[in-house]
Symmetry: C2
Subunit: 498 residues, 2 copies
Amino acid sequence: MPKKKSKIKRPKAITPKGFRDYFDEDVVNRQGLIESICEIYELYGFEILESSAVETVGALGKFLPDVDRPNQGIFSWQDEENEWLALRYDLTAPLARVYAQHRNDLPVPYRRYSFGPVWRNEKPGPGRFKQFYQCDADTIGAHSTVSDSEMCTMLASIFETIGFSKDQYTIHLNNRKILDGVLEEIGILNNSDSDRYKETRGIVLRSIDKIDRLGHRGVRDLLGLGRLDDSGDVTEGAMLSENQIDLIMKFISLNESSNKRTLEELQYLVGKSSIGLLGIKELELIVELTEAAGYLEDRIKINPGIVRGLGYYTGPVFEADLNMKALNSDSTSSEIGSVAGGGRYDDLVKRFTGQEVPATGLSIGIDRLGFALNQLDKKQETKRNGPVIVTIMDMEKILEYQKIVIELRSSGIRAELFLGNPKDLGKQLKYADQRNSKLAIIAGSQEFEKGNVQIKDLELGSRISSTIKTNQEWKGQPAQTEVSRNDLVEHIKKLIIT
Amino acid sequence: MPKKKSKIKRPKAITPKGFRDYFDEDVVNRQGLIESICEIYELYGFEILESSAVETVGALGKFLPDVDRPNQGIFSWQDEENEWLALRYDLTAPLARVYAQHRNDLPVPYRRYSFGPVWRNEKPGPGRFKQFYQCDADTIGAHSTVSDSEMCTMLASIFETIGFSKDQYTIHLNNRKILDGVLEEIGILNNSDSDRYKETRGIVLRSIDKIDRLGHRGVRDLLGLGRLDDSGDVTEGAMLSENQIDLIMKFISLNESSNKRTLEELQYLVGKSSIGLLGIKELELIVELTEAAGYLEDRIKINPGIVRGLGYYTGPVFEADLNMKALNSDSTSSEIGSVAGGGRYDDLVKRFTGQEVPATGLSIGIDRLGFALNQLDKKQETKRNGPVIVTIMDMEKILEYQKIVIELRSSGIRAELFLGNPKDLGKQLKYADQRNSKLAIIAGSQEFEKGNVQIKDLELGSRISSTIKTNQEWKGQPAQTEVSRNDLVEHIKKLIIT
């Protein structure tokens, strides 16, 4: 039945808060970056997987740092059958689901890479959006620390392939097992009752992860009674004693001159904790392998302050920082910081299957890495060349113009007919300028009679083209050549190449 | 505060209903198809845009065919500020939003292409998923029918570039304006009061769009009193008279031997309706241009039965069918049908701005097109070659194995260390088989002493490899050569190429 018409209110033409669109060069550059990274993943033997962007909330689990707020941090909704669905917040949790679902058909180890958008319902900031790209590689089903080492060398090799020099990045390496050793030493981890103090350990982990933002004083507060931030929000503390806090702070502040010395100091801190000692042994092997692969401690460096915020890590973890500043639009500069990270997550598949499945992986934040590459001046912000524009002087001749554009395209030349209002040649040439087109083709009745066309070189003529107002004025301009219609494609080819 | 632990229930390792994952070859093939199409869009002068996957519900509007169920058909949720957000259901509605938002910075016309997943909360079926890929091109700001014509020729050129022959596809062309002319003739469209009978016209449109599924009888019912389907659901009818229905049925059933004759018949059906006559004139120009471009009526054919379900079209519309059957898994076959379509939507940007902005576009359904291409036997389902697998006989020699894999990769050879449990060589070789690897490298203490390694050709040896059980048995197998460690890379290069 026809309903009563409600008053029409115009929708707002905006992206939702924290989302954005990507135009031409942005997309092309990002695709190029992803392609370069995926080529290396391929070279290392990984194969591609694209999992569904939508998952059940249960399958995703709650591993985002802000576990205080369940179901926050993700975009979720209920379907018709009351099941909670959500957009993936990373590519790792979905991989665990995929592996558990298809494990009988997949090789062991299963080595896959993946790229695509992920979504986080977090507060957006400068350069931080709610939809962003990740490009990951993971090895599922490999216990061996060799696979963790591979992640580190592969990441280093990616940096150096896409254009960073050896001193422009550092991969900070740590092991959750060593932190566990420290926690065992201070009495908040008990092997025989792993659930005891679990909440406290969660707070410790998240506190350490905030050191870049809050500094040592802030982390100490969080390890103790808690912290009141500038906005008046209270963050609950881990309620540890001063002695306990001292040991943790000593651990995360270790900054020795060499990986060897750091490993010696760590040995001292974990005492007799067997989990801690195992963690140190693993790091020793990673250091041996990565150094043998040519990546010394100037690039892969043990840093006990790195714990990674995500809740699912169980062993070696790493985070890659770029040692360069980014120029902000207000001409201040700020650290670019972490652009990639990863680690071992042996229990993530077990959530589904009950059986332990070892796994390790690497995740690259494409948007920040692309931003850093732009800053490097290696990829200067150049506008892509636009197509050859075939202008229209006379709609009666539309078939002739169409023929020109077809011929150009048949020769592989990017070209288009001007499809806006053709009344004004100046506007057509301005359009060609806006598209960053190098050439425009102009032909009126005079040219058609002679069997000729005009080629306008817009690069040469860009300064004056904006002053052309009428169809009459364009004649006799410099950077404009009349050629035989029959030779047009050959002429254009030559001009495009030079 | 620590909370009481609730009993742990394992999450199910499944995609939400109607979603799926794409493995290696699937993703590679799809990427290749998208790349081929985008190359043509580029050649035609379009530039790329990637809009946000998430939009406000208001910006998307309600244009899906099933407008009877508002907010159905899409995945939507409310954010913290009570705004309704949704996943895009196509790439056209977001484009209208992007254009309205950024119109001051964009050239006129704005010619963009785009590809990516879209999401529809519709009933999934065989080959129909809730997340699927579209690859679109649109021209915004062009009144000219030449731009509609370009969409048709570009689509034809895409089909012929990606591997279809001239007789394997048909582009069916129509014009909503001609339908409007018919509706004017039967008295349910009134120029001076365009909102009158709007609901009725909506029902007419959706009824015609269902002709493939319901046949003539079903459409007649929907144009009249309504229809009771097998499940007992009642679909409301347009309540037209028999005379009115007859004229519509005559219109949509027109099937003349040539475009010229169809245009003549249409002239008769629209009578004196000026909108109808304008529509016919536009089709005449499209036919003239596409024929001049070499696409005759065997490939671009006027078909008044094509109206397109989406509510936003206002002028020329087209739909591309593949004239081939798909073999189902139960060895029955079914028509593949429509894989692409598009048309003119002059009012979509106006929703935001109030100003008319002409627009026309083309959307290709990548998943169905890819499926059809597979059926063509042109892209046979071949498993991609896996990497060279460097097996591990002795963990003490891990640095040596790593060195081999580094050397191979440095020479551009896809290679990986076996990272699973290395105890059993047979399992390592089985893994290489599963990855479809052509070569495996084997070296134990004997080989290392001699400065040699073994290269196993798995293609040759695939039949016997599955029977190898212990590390001792592999020796002296055929298809296995011992070479000097120093010459390894050269040997592998030769074997990979042949």
